[in-house]
């Protein structure tokens, strides 16, 4: 199976999960941001370009399932994925705690940015407190379920690398 096909499979599975099971289980009315997490982790494992392309598709699918205007999340997800990839390339060493914290920050930032764009386009009210609370809870909730998602995305992003791809070791 090619890398693109695997990523597509992961995105479609993510879409199905986000629209079904994950929607049923909310904490304080906030659900897991699975497609945003897939976008971020693809940026982390697969590099900025793959991350951006995957994030764009993830954003379009997310827009379709949540009913926001098409392109809104596709506008927000790619910069977050590229930023995560860029930060990851500059990190000297990574620990599970640091990775978890980075994922929390990235998801909260992505969620917050989406709300901000929604406000700018007049699609959401301007209750900043609600958006901040939503961003923080979705960040924490998503990190809590990130371990299996990380494995699947890692498999999808770098499962069978062609020879031209360079592998960078931790601490390099």
């Amino acid at each position: 199976m090619t890398q693109r096909l695997r990523v597509l499979l992961v995105l479609l599975t993510g879409l199905a999960l986000e629209g079904t099971i994950l929607d049923e289980f909310r904490v304080q009315g906030v659900a897991v941001e699975l497609l945003l997490m897939v976008a971020i982790l693809t940026g982390y494992h697969g590099g900025p370009e793959r991350g951006a392309a995957t994030a764009f598709l993830a954003g379009l699918l997310h827009d379709s399932v949540v009913g926001s205007p098409l392109g809104l999340h596709a506008l927000v997800f790619p910069p977050v994925a590229v930023a995560v990839s860029s930060v990851e390339r500059r990190m000297l060493r990574s620990t599970p705690l640091a990775n978890g914290l980075a994922l929390f920050i990235a998801i909260s930032a992505g969620q917050g940015l989406a709300s901000l764009v929604g406000v700018l386009f007049g699609l959401l009210g301007d209750s900043t407190e609600v958006f901040i609370r939503q961003a923080l809870i979705s960040g924490m909730f998503s990190v809590a379920v990130s371990v299996p998602v990380n494995r699947v995305v890692r498999w999808a992003a770098i499962g069978d690398l062609p020879g031209t791809i360079e592998l960078r070791r931790e601490g390099a």
Binding site: V65, G71, E166
Partner: protein, 289 residues
């Protein structure tokens, strides 16, 4: 461990994707039909999965809600107790009240209770975390619903249908910042355009003259006419007439319908006026058959 290609050029790719996203967003906001159809198609494909998941996860979800929503459930319980006590207190005078209400409806000429409606059940909020001021209901185009139809309870206007899929629909609540409705003040007969504020109220900030006499607690109903919603649906009461406005008047309305703790809603099935010219043409046809 990261896989990256040394020849990767993330900046041009990112700029290209951002431009594409902005274009799509602009086209969608301008109402380009294929984009909405694409989204509706995705949701319709997911629909059978969602229905099955709803049923399967019901028992687990009840436990989940008990664990993570305990405080909310307690508050809800408390609210319902207070409401029950209030209704018991009111039951003594309900007959007299209903007679008074009927008389009021006759006096102001409201046809609200005679509208043809479809009862729908609330399923919850739409998927994801972008659904503030929106709720999902269990009926869609298969049941004859159309985008733009008014949604109300016995107390008054709740919102309008925003997205209509085959067997589910999304209701944009009247408090949503994008919600616009033509309204009429029952006392003064002034008409204006009300919009949601995102904070639980509506505000009429267009159409009301600076010198118009607007009373506190004045009843506000939908105006009909060129508005998408049928006339005479109660909207709420004026809680701030903004009497001292110098340049622009912003009359604040408290919604008559309680948007918290709803279970069922009525979708008003009255014919939609899609073309603003239509009512004028219809009038001409009546005058000159």
């Amino acid at each position: 461990m990261t896989a990256f290609r040394s020849n990767e050029r993330p900046r041009p790719t990112l700029l290209l994707l951002l431009a594409a996203a902005l274009t799509l967003l602009t086209l969608h906001i301008r109402g380009v039909q294929p984009l909405e159809s694409f989204q509706q198609g995705v949701r319709d494909i997911l629909e059978p999965l969602r229905s099955v998941t709803d049923e399967i996860t019901d028992p687990v979800q009840a436990v989940w809600s008990g664990v993570f929503g305990y405080q909310e459930l307690r508050a809800e319980n408390e609210r319902l107790r207070v409401e029950l006590a209030r209704f018991r207190g009111r039951s003594m005078t309900s007959e007299a009240d209903s007679e008074l209400f009927e008389r009021l409806l006759d006096e102001v000429g409201l046809e609200y209770l005679k509208l043809d409606t479809l009862l729908v059940r609330i399923l919850g909020t739409p998927p994801g975390n972008f659904g503030t001021h929106r709720i999902e209901v269990d009926a869609g185009s298969d049941q004859g619903l159309q985008k733009g139809q008014a949604v109300a309870t016995g107390a008054g206007l709740v919102g309008r249908l925003d997205q209509v899929d085959r067997s589910r629909s999304t209701v944009m609540l009247a408090t949503h910042p994008e919600f616009l409705v033509g309204v009429r003040l029952v006392g003064s007969q002034d008409e204006g355009l009300a919009r949601g504020t995102g904070r639980g109220t509506l505000v009429i900030d267009a159409g009301i003259r600076l010198d118009a006499s607007v009373d506190w607690n004045e009843v506000v109903v939908t105006s009909g006419g060129r508005s998408l919603l049928p006339p005479d649906i109660p909207v709420g009461r004026v809680i701030d007439p903004d009497e001292n406005a110098k340049y622009k008047r912003s009359v604040v309305i408290d919604l008559a319908a309680d948007l918290e703790g709803l279970s069922f809603l009525n979708v008003v099935l009255e014919r939609l006026i899609e073309d603003p010219v239509m009512p004028i043409l219809e009038q001409s046809a009546t005058v000159f058959p």
